[in-house]
Amino acid sequence: MRLKLSAEVIKGDLVERVAELSGQNLSACYQCGRCSAGCPVVEEMDIVPSEVIRLLQLGQVEPVLDSETIWICASCLQCASRCPRGVEFSSICDALRAIVLRKRLSGSVVDADEVTRTMVSDAPQMGVVGALRKLNG
């Protein structure tokens, strides 16, 4: 499919919202791909971090919100730590998750009941609480 670009598409409200919520300058990214190259969980992602930012630069927020990528990110901050332009993909990821979770676009990605039932006796609390906050809102 041909992607039709226009000022309206590129500077859409949702893109602005992502930039605002993440506090990141999306235009600063020059697509070196270092975030993707160093990501420990990139194999599990359907769209790699640098591509996520590229899609946002093109105004394509929907496919990113639908992606598995944003739920896979473990917030280890390796991407942000090495980015030569100071763009924090981890923050962009949090912003994208927040947009989905605040609107409950796809329901909870992590079911709190199930997690507490099955995991809490075993895994450290911090992991459970962290997951719930990152993945359930």
Partner: protein, 652 residues
Amino acid sequence: MEHRIGVFVCHCGTNIAGVVDVKRVAEELASYPGVAFSTDYTYMCSDPGQNLVKDAIKEHKLTGVVVSACSPTLHEATFRRAGVGADLNPYMVEIANIREQCSWVHQEDKPRATEKAIKIIKTMIEKVKQDEALEPIAVPVTKRALVVGGGVAGIQAALDIANSGHEVILVEKEASIGGHMAQLSETFPTLDCSQCILTPKMVDAAQHPRIKLMTYCEVGDVAGYVGNFKIKIKKKAAYVNRDVCTGCGLCSEKCPSKTDSEFEEGLATRKAIYTPFPQAVPNKPVLDAEHCLYMQSGKCGICAKICPVDAVDYTQKDEFVDVEVGAIVVATGYDLYPIINIGEYGGGKIKDVVTSLQFERLLSASGPTSGVVRRPSDGEIPKEVVFLTCVGSRDPEHHKAYCSKICCMYLTKHAMLYKHTVHDGQAYLFYMDVRTGGKGYEEFYQRAAEEDDVLYVRGKVSKLYEEDGKVIVWGVDTLTGQKVEIAADMVVLGLAMEPNAQALELAKKLKIQVNEWGFLSEAHPKLRPVESLAPGFYLAGAAQGPKDIPDAVAQASAAASKVASLFAEKEYHREPIIALVDEDECAGCRVCVSVCPYDAAEFDEEKKVAHIQEAICEGCGACIAACPSGSVTQKNLTDDQLFKMVTAALED
């Protein structure tokens, strides 16, 4: 005296007129006291614009001119010449800077930008009202140049100046001239051998009757000004009487103490008494006291015993030589950004991760492996070699924001030369953009990809680590969105270029400006790219910014021609904006003598008053601010002028 000032407001296309209401400015100033003529024009610096100024001077009998345009650093000289063309003393022409310091910085507030432009122009009208017609001060020029740095740029500049008939002193801190170019294997895009093209030039420089080579020397104190610099040069103790030494090499051969060779980038050793490389110019050794057994422990002394001409002298001390020159070319070159700063690439701890200069030595026929590419860890010939661009460059977050300009090309060359020696090897080159902005460069890049099968991978490597004798490369191919991993035998880093560390100290001594990264600043990025803003200093090579050999040589020749044109005049004309003592007022307290950084203020024992030597005064104004009786003033920048300017700046 009746003032008849002309005000000329430039639009600079839309650069000024797009923000400042130039028509209104010109109209409003027409009625300002002392203004006899006021107008605006699209491009004041163009020929018609300058003619407009000249015609107005004649027609309206103008006594002074304020051109309101760009910064005075750009066109002050232009308009002063125009003034002269209309028989107006050049110092009666002033510039009001309403572009860099007004329209360009206040684009969001046009009405207030216009107000500010008016104020700026008023300050200059007030200044010009009290300007005096001045004549530049003529000073004799010492027609001898100092070139600092003996790399290819310094050598070229020295040769060109010498060939135009002037004496040159070429100072190099190392034992030999040649610089980094002497370390290179072959050069892009022609693949001619670096030594083959450089060594004849080195010999030319050494043998030129008008070039005095001072290797193993450093620039010490610097005094004076354009045309008349006085410089102390430190001859570092070489512990070898190099005038007597024949360069036979016996001492190095027999010396028992070894250390890492700087020339071989640590890939081979040298002796404590050594010439940096076989083709060194001059081909005479120096002794490195830190590694000399005799100097450290008093034992050994073999070199002194064996020297057939008794040139070794352990008691030698640093010496200082005073020289006088009229111009200084700074060609201090570059260093590679230290690998230790790149932690994610091992920070220098992984043996088979080498710098680009180390790889040059591995490729060089005269290098430690005689041109066979062998990896440092075990001497094996690497079959999978990865080349990384932008290591430390283009990374404002952690390292250097700028592009180092030559890495794309030399890594392409590296990959190509590697393939030429290891036919069954594979070269990978990680890049963000392949920058081939030079003659024949793009074709060279295409050849590397097509004919030599260098695989270009678009992406920046995130991490390198050692595992089972391999260097694991964690990269990405951004064109497919794939994370990639290569188990490489060797990795070559295209590290950022940074200005030579010692060059920064030198720039401080010379009082020439550097940019935020320490590269020497040119007087104008486009129109005066080879001279410093401080007169008498010329820039050549990578000291001014990352550069390849052709650019460094071109700039060196340009700097040399600037020196030659300075030397072509009998005298140099200095700005007459200097201090002046009112002898009637002077109480003879000598504060001015104590504050003057140039010893230009002196005390006249006979008259018991201070006196400023106009050939020496630089016009800093320290004496004026310090004088308790108010008897020192600055020509064309008197206290009264400053008061009036301040008042004008504050008037609504």
